[in-house]
């Protein structure tokens, strides 16, 4: 199928402001949008710049705005977008070049929630036990690939870039609900603070954006309830 693709371009070292390049390419309907970007880069315009690696939705490199929605370019097919598409970088982070945004602030927010198991008890010789039910309590949030599709789709984040954002909170949830974790108040202080989970306005954009199908808004509500009940 013939696809007309508008891509937002910007090189801050060279361009005064962003502009759009338009490409016409012939693709199979079952090709990924990433295949289309590769077709442009490899055959038409080597200067087009984007991140990509695994090409099947597990590494989280190629989140971008496709016809206004945050998607992984490798996890959406050309036929699902159609003959006309507009591709832009994710919103809310500085553009480094074309579709590549500066991920450093994103990872700083992630690090702020202590996204790691805290348990200073001496480890047993074998595994720490955990029942399948305990394990299921945080299964959904173990799927996160840190692509930033949720955080950059979040209106409270757009209006306040200091908000830690849904991705960081998904990863906080991953440990808050892990029966082995002992961080307790230490992590709770960060996420219940000024720029923490209470900034969430349950817009559900994050849930729509997640390429891993994580119920992000629901996760946020679980975190909020946990903070309230633990305080009570």
């Amino acid at each position: 199928m013939q696809v007309k693709c508008k891509i937002r371009r910007y090189n801050p070292t060279q361009d005064k402001k962003p502009y759009f390049s338009v490409y016409e390419v012939r693709m199979e309907p079952t090709d990924r949008v990433l295949d289309l970007l590769n077709e442009i880069k490899w055959k038409l315009d080597g200067t087009l710049t984007y991140r990509r690696s695994c090409a099947h939705g597990v590494c989280g490199s190629d989140a971008m705005r496709i016809n206004g929605r945050n998607r992984l370019a490798c996890k959406v097919l050309v036929r699902d977008i159609g003959h006309k598409m507009t591709i832009e970088p994710m919103m809310g982070f500085a553009v480094l070049r074309d579709l590549v945004v500066d991920m450093e602030p994103f990872f700083e927010k992630y690090k702020a929630v202590k996204p790691y198991l805290v348990n200073d008890d001496p480890a047993p010789v074998t595994e720490r036990l955990q029942t399948p039910e305990e394990r299921a309590a945080f299964d959904d949030t173990t799927k996160c690939i840190l692509c930033a599709a949720c955080t950059t789709a979040c209106p409270p984040f757009w209006s306040n870039p200091d908000f830690v954002g849904p991705a960081a909170l998904v990863n906080a949830h991953r440990f808050i609900f892990d029966s082995r974790d002992k961080a307790g108040a230490e992590r709770a202080d960060v996420i219940s603070g000024r720029e923490g989970v209470w900034r969430c306005r349950t817009v559900f954009n994050c849930t729509d954006a997640c390429p891993r199908g994580i119920q992000v808004t629901n996760v946020m509500e679980e975190v909020k309830r946990k903070l309230l009940y633990d305080r009570a």
Binding site: T13, T47, R97, Y116, P132
Partner: protein, 576 residues
């Protein structure tokens, strides 16, 4: 810019991060991890099915049985002392990962759950055994995330989106790296006492591959160019169940859970080839069974693929134990695996060969096992050799965790007792020249064209089945492509975030590695594991029960040999 660290890890997948963890846990060592990606983008994250370890949580199992399976699975080209270490240390390494927080799936008693996997058996080949420790079908993702999380906790220094350009060796000691900051194009020199390459595989040499676009063997190629020989490069694994045409991996865990391969007649054809293990025979064999079915006209509708059948497993197993697989199949094929058959074909998956190392990750510079002080390698880029001629499923994760850990521990001790070696004068000259030549050349063909030809050639002539004729022809093509590559030109000549520059460098690496693979494949005139020669269909222990070392010399490639360590199990015919 100049940086100085005690230890530097290149590559932030499982092996690199496991090593970084050991270094970070040792007080007083300054460590940096350099990666061309953000760490969690590494390809370890794509591993699905599990990590093999004889925990015996569900049934009787012993590391000794795991060692036997590894040796037999590798068609006896495995160094048995190394495999023995790996299979024993797998157990404590898996517990270490669990203590780091890895969310394994659990048994009703709360232990780590385990499932069957290809080639893993009880009591030296009697029947399949539940050995693969898993976290749904995203075990690699969980390993990568868990190790990255722990590295954050321990405040490891990361240099993300820094591309390796060169390895600095001075007076027989490895002492630094030349690295490009992808963002601004600046070239950095990293000075260190010990350097670990954990740079991964090179599946992108082939057209159909499960590997990420970034898996271009950069570290292996750079070591090769700097005079390090490469071991067993001809031994490359094709995984039987790649998504048709796309090559995306569908985990062997699907067959571990009871999935069946069927040909155009609906027949479970593995019954004819491997009556005991059936669909769970090792990957090299199953890939060849598929090749044979297709060749004899029993591919689906006479085409070049067969079916993976999960329809009898029920929605519960498919959705809960294989959720990512179900997702891939739905998104990319529009197929519902609960009710429909999945079209699959073999896909280029894993390099058994690579940079030769000892069991502590120290890089060997010759077949007499001389060590290059300060230089380490671990994971898919390395060849210990624990996979021999064919790697068993789950053993890639075992390899990265065990040998990443061992290399990290050895480096920690080494940097304590070793002073810095002075850098040679202008160690970045060559890399700077290489980059500026690419940035300034105005006319020439694109690297993308060369890559496309290379990938097609490797797929047609250097894949599941090979012969003197196909290999000679591929060798000629690769030489032509190397000559064309010397005149390659880019459209993007910016220094700021130039991804075309990276892709161009990567094509250069793939070309050199392809040349070494073909040289090894021509020299190995037998069939063993992942290397099948139509013109030499039998395994030949008299002449080829030995590792091959390929050297990059000014006069072209040179092949040498090293004996295999056979300390436990005498080679036997490989039947399943």
């Amino acid at each position: 810019m100049y940086h100085r660290f005690d230890a530097i890890v290149v590559g932030a997948g499982g092996a690199g991060l496991m090593a970084a963890m050991q270094l970070a846990r040792t007080p007083g060592i300054r460590t940096a991890v350099i990666s061309k990606l953000y760490p969690t983008r590494s390809h370890t994250g794509a591993a699905q099915g599990g990590i093999g370890a004889a925990l015996g949580n569900l049934e009787e199992d012993y590391p000794e049985w795991h060692t036997f399976d590894t040796v037999k699975g590798g068609d006896y080209l495995v160094d048995q002392d190394a495999a023995d270490i790996m299979c024993h240390e797998a157990v404590e390494s898996v517990y270490e990962l669990e203590h780091y927080g890895l969310p394994f799936s659990r048994t009703p008693e709360g232990k780590i759950d385990q499932r069957r996997f290809g080639g893993h058996t009880r009591n030296f080949g009697e029947a399949p055994v539940r050995r693969s420790c898993f976290a749904a079908d995203r075990t690699g993702h969980m390993i990568l995330q868990t190790l990255y999380q722990q590295c954050i906790k321990r405040e490891v220094n990361f240099y993300s989106e820094f591309q390796l350009l060169d390895l600095i060796i001075s007076e027989g000691v490895c002492c630094g790296l030349v690295v490009l900051n992808i963002k601004d194009g600046e070239i950095h020199i990293f000075h260190a006492k010990a350097i670990l390459f954990a740079t991964g595989g090179f599946g992108r040499a082939w057209k159909i591959t499960s590997n990420a676009l970034s898996n271009t063997g950069d570290g292996v190629a750079i070591a090769f160019r700097r005079g390090i020989p490469l071991e067993d490069m001809e031994l490359y694994q094709f995984h039987p169940t790649g998504v048709y045409k796309l090559g995306i991996l569908l985990t062997e865990g699907a067959r571990g859970e009871g999935g069946i391969l069927r040909n155009n007649d609906g027949e479970r054809f593995t019954e004819r080839y491997a009556p005991t293990l059936l669909d769970l025979a090792p990957r090299d064999m199953v890939s060849r069974f598929i090749y044979q079915e297709v060749k004899e006209g029993r591919g689906i509708n006479g085409s070049d693929f067969v079916h993976l059948d999960l329809t009898h497993l029920g929605a519960d197993i498919v959705e809960n134990k294989l959720p990512d697989l179900a997702d891939f199949v739905r998104v990319y094929l529009g197929v519902d695996p609960v009710r429909e058959l999945i079209p699959i074909q073999p896909t280029a998956h894993y390099a058994m060969g690579g940079i030769p190392t000892d069991v502590d990750g120290r890089v060997l510079v010759d077949e007499a096992s001389s060590v290059l002080p300060g230089f380490y390698a671990a994971g898919e880029c390395a060849c210990v050799s624990v996979h021999g001629a064919n790697r068993l499923g789950t053993n890639s994760l075992v390899d990265i965790v065990v040998f990443g850990r061992r290399a990290g521990k050895h480096m920690a001790a080494y940097v304590h007792e070793t002073p810095f070696t002075e850098l040679p004068r202008a160690p970045d000259d060559e890399a700077r020249h290489q980059v500026s030549a690419l940035l300034s050349r105005e006319r020439g063909e694109s690297a993308a064209e060369i890559r496309e030809t290379l990938q097609e050639e490797m797929m047609d002539k250097v894949s599941v089945v090979r012969s003197e004729q196909t290999l000679q022809s591929a060798r000629k093509t690769v030489h032509e492509l190397q000559a064309r590559f010397a005149q390659v030109a880019m459209q993007d000549r910016q220094t700021w975030y130039n991804s075309e520059l990276l892709e161009t460098l990567e094509v250069g690496y793939l070309l050199d590695l392809s040349e070494s693979i073909i040289a090894g494949a021509l020299a190995r005139q037998e069939s063993r594991g992942g290397h099948y020669r139509e013109d030499y269909p039998e395994r030949d222990d008299t002449n080829f029960l030995r590792h091959s070392f390929v050297y990059n010399t000014p006069d072209g490639l040179r092949i040498a040999h090293k004996p295999v360590n056979i300390s436990k199990f005498e080679p036997k015919e490989r039947k399943y």
